[in-house]
């Protein structure tokens, strides 16, 4: 079976930059290619857009295939269509970035078919196609996003301590932050709820745990509130 058109059409794919946060490290999900071109090299997860799914649906389908999860933060950040970006022919890709809670046990990286790994942003392998550029753009977008919307919490467990958020922001923004000022600003927003629970089994003073009050945030947004860190 084949499909014919009066004019030639580029192939259309979606690619996903999936960010996770763990051990103070910002990580990205990479796939090792098992066929040419770029066989054996690392690439972003992605695939062709089907005729019966929207772009976002295609991205979520790919994400589910690679991580096992479907409900995660997902945002489109750009499309890439240089004529020679894929040696096999004309392929235009729509790129998304996703944020997942690596602490969530339902997230995995391995599939039977191809090997996938969480790689720290600090030490990435070379990537196939124009994926290094796409990844750089995703990170740039995440940097802006994380300061203007409370998406950082998408990367943390539901219960977290303040230093975890700070380390997350430091990893994303690529610079250190002042502990007292950071906590002051964060708590002043009034969006973190202290839980009746503390860190346990640590050999130093136990940290207070918090959760992000999403409902309150959404209510405030209705009234014109704007998150900013």
């Amino acid at each position: 079976m084949s499909y014919s058109y009066d004019y030639p059409r580029p192939a259309l794919t979606v690619d996903c930059v999936v960010f996770g946060f763990d051990d103070g490290d910002l990580k990205v999900l990479l796939i090792q290619r098992n066929e040419p071109p770029f066989e054996g090299e690392w690439a972003l997860p992605g695939g062709f857009v089907r005729m019966d799914e929207s772009l976002e649906e295609a991205a979520r389908r790919e994400l589910e295939e690679e991580t096992g999860a479907r409900e995660m933060f997902l945002e489109q950040f750009g499309s890439f269509g240089d004529v020679h970006r894929d040696p096999r022919g004309r392929v235009v890709t729509v790129a998304y970035y996703a944020l997942v809670k690596l602490s969530d046990q339902s997230i995995r990286a391995e599939t039977d078919a191809r090997s996938a790994e969480w790689r720290p942003m600090r030490a990435l392998p070379p990537l196939a196609f124009d994926h290094e550029m796409i990844l750089a753009r995703a990170l740039a977008r995440l940097k802006e996003k994380v300061r203007r919307e409370p998406v950082g919490f998408e990367l943390l467990p539901k219960k977290f301590k303040l230093t975890q958020i700070q380390h997350l922001y430091e990893a994303v923004l690529g610079r250190t932050l002042d502990k007292r000022n950071f906590r002051k600003k964060l708590l002043r927003l009034g969006l973190l709820v202290p839980l009746d629970e503390q860190e346990t089994d640590v050999r130093h003073r136990a940290a207070q745990l918090f959760r992000f009050d999403r409902k309150k945030y959404l209510r405030l947004v209705e009234k014109g509130f704007h998150f900013e860190l």
Copy 2:
């Protein structure tokens, strides 16, 4: 002649939201469609991506066809691929917004083929396809952009007076601004050069004219400067 593929492919287009500024009004270039679907209705300029041009090249080609100009500010802001967004079949579009100087005589709106018009954002006709949503997203993007990068000047003549910039910002942001505070903030940036020239033939006090110092801006950006209004 026809082109065959093993799997079906969506058609791929680019659409452009072309903003202009004139008489205190933010305007958009619209095309009146002369064939179905949506015959007679207004739509954004756009067209199919050819196999030998990148996405941005496709957008610039369309822009040149519609406005006569090629060198203008242009930025991609999103791709739209809902399955039923075009009644003729599956069409995915990559959307750009462009900023043009309406004061520049080389900009026109009419082509022989189809009628094109500059319409004020304050009073838009209904648009074909999902173009109202695309336009809304373009405006949202412009609102953010104009406050974080000096793109407002792309919409003004090379020589302008301060109230023109203020009116531009008011039109884009959709709210009034305080004259003294606006001028203070703007001039403090040190990016406007007062010219040896004033407004003429006005029946009130003549305004000082300025130009934007792009070279100085680029030098400052190298050093980590960040424009913000």
